[in-house]
């Protein structure tokens, strides 16, 4: 439990402990009031608990939802305590809370035991003498392999794969649509009668745009709206119109 200085009405300068959670705060209050954990004066503790929450809020300490859940639980117990007991055998409404507190208190003592062992071991370093032929390769003992290790290895594979295979054209934003380019190309063909596809493609500033022109040309040929001519391999590719205007409604839907 760390501590934060707080000026409060109770005294000149009160130290506000920083709690690990609502159970920690509740344990603190039980101890502060010097009451038995088996017979907690719920009304008093409930009021103090809420006072602490307000103090924490005023200090802008993040009050997690868990604190509020316990606050409403305390209120529920408080109101049940006010009801007359229906029968002698009825459970004490505080029973479950006491069990939670005892279990948490045990966790805290076990944590202290572990902290104690750790402090004894501070400053003990494993010996690792270098090997004559360089350090051994990074390996992991089989018994240390768990699903978290396996998952990390898979993520490493996938991350590396993505780095080495940047996304292709498929994922690029649709700045140039094939349908629109087909329309433009058709208009050009009708006007010019012949269109140098290759040089047009090669002078596009954008690879994606060049691809779009190519796909648009293929589409027009497929729809029998244009013909392709190429004199020699690697020479200019010319497109000429056939006079069959494509059905633009169908093209737009495709």
């Amino acid at each position: 439990m760390g501590a934060v200085a707080l000026a409060e009405s109770k005294g000149p300068a009160v130290i506000l402990p920083v709690f690990e959670g609502p159970l920690d705060l509740l344990l603190f209050l039980v101890r502060e009031n010097r009451v038995s954990i088996w017979d907690i004066p719920i009304a008093t503790i409930c009021d103090q608990y809420q006072a602490w929450l307000r103090a924490m809020e005023e200090l802008d300490l993040a009050v997690a939802g868990e604190y509020l859940v316990l606050a409403s639980w305390l209120l529920a117990i408080k109101s049940r305590m006010l009801l007359p007991k229906r029968s002698k055998g009825e459970d004490d409404p505080r029973q479950e809370l006491v069990e939670r507190l005892l279990a948490y208190e045990k966790v805290k003592r076990q944590a202290a035991e572990i902290a104690g062992l750790l402090s004894l071991r501070e400053g003990v370093w494993p010996v690792r003498v270098a090997l004559a032929d360089g350090p051994p390769p990074e390996e992991m003992a089989l018994e240390d392999v768990d699903v978290a290790v396996l998952g990390r290895a898979m993520r490493a594979v996938l991350d590396r794969f993505r780095r080495e295979h940047p996304p292709g054209l498929v994922l690029a934003p649709l700045r140039f649509t094939v349908a629109e380019t087909m329309r433009t190309l058709w208009d050009l063909l009708r006007r010019e009668r012949s269109f140098p596809l290759l040089s047009h493609m090669l002078t596009r500033p954008d690879r994606l745009e060049a691809m779009t022109w190519f796909l648009a040309a293929l589409e027009l040929v497929w729809l029998k709206a244009a013909l392709v001519h190429q004199g020699l391999p690697f020479a200019e590719i010319y497109l000429t119109p056939t006079g069959n205007e494509p059905n633009w409604e169908v093209v737009a839907d495709a």
Partner: protein, 182 residues
């Protein structure tokens, strides 16, 4: 006797390169089939004694079901100064509590940890996983099949324990009805 001294030297060399506890079984496998358990025990005893004097900076430890060489705690300040670290990074109270829950109740799930501590401990669990103090050990067959956690060998090494059974037990203060201490 040379044979015994050679065996001790070989053990020391192996432990010095291992950097982690080595089980008796692994040592015997590495040293050859003729080395009896008694001979190994004698050799290890020789190594331990050789380092007991104040002239040695090392110590033979029995941790996590094996043997390892470590630096002597009383030399910590020199080693720390050389390595440029103050001490090994301390664990936060939240991490200690979570580690205690896993250590004493393993195997345990995140919902169980959250319930015991009264706060969401997912971040702490991940820190402990990254520090290799706990590991995932399958799933619990309940609704949502949450992952189960256990402590690791590294946890035993860090605490200097031979096995989990050496974890300190607590007197059940709560059951006697005594008021709560911290």
């Amino acid at each position: 006797m040379l044979e015994r001294e050679l065996l001790a030297a070989a053990c020391e060399a192996i432990l010095a390169v291992a950097g982690e506890p080595v089980s008796e079984a692994s040592l015997r496998k590495a040293l050859g089939p003729d080395v009896s358990a008694e001979a190994l025990a004698e050799a290890l005893d020789l190594v331990r004694k050789r380092h007991e004097g104040s002239g040695s900076g090392l110590v033979l430890e029995k941790v996590a079901g094996g043997y390892r060489l470590a630096t002597k705690p009383e030399l910590a300040e020199f080693v720390a100064s050389f390595l440029g670290v103050r001490a090994q990074t301390r664990l936060s109270q939240a991490a200690l509590e979570t580690l205690a829950i896993v250590a004493y109740r393993q195997p345990v799930t995140l919902p169980e940890i959250n319930f015991l501590r009264g706060v969401n401990s997912a971040g702490v669990v991940r820190t402990l996983l990254e520090r290799k103090l706990i590991r995932v050990a399958g799933r619990k067959q309940v609704v949502g099949t949450p992952l189960l956690y256990r402590t690791t060998k590294e946890f035993l090494v860090l605490l200097g324990l031979g096995s989990l059974s050496e974890l300190p037990t607590l007197e059940e203060l709560g059951e006697t009805g005594a008021s709560v201490g911290s």
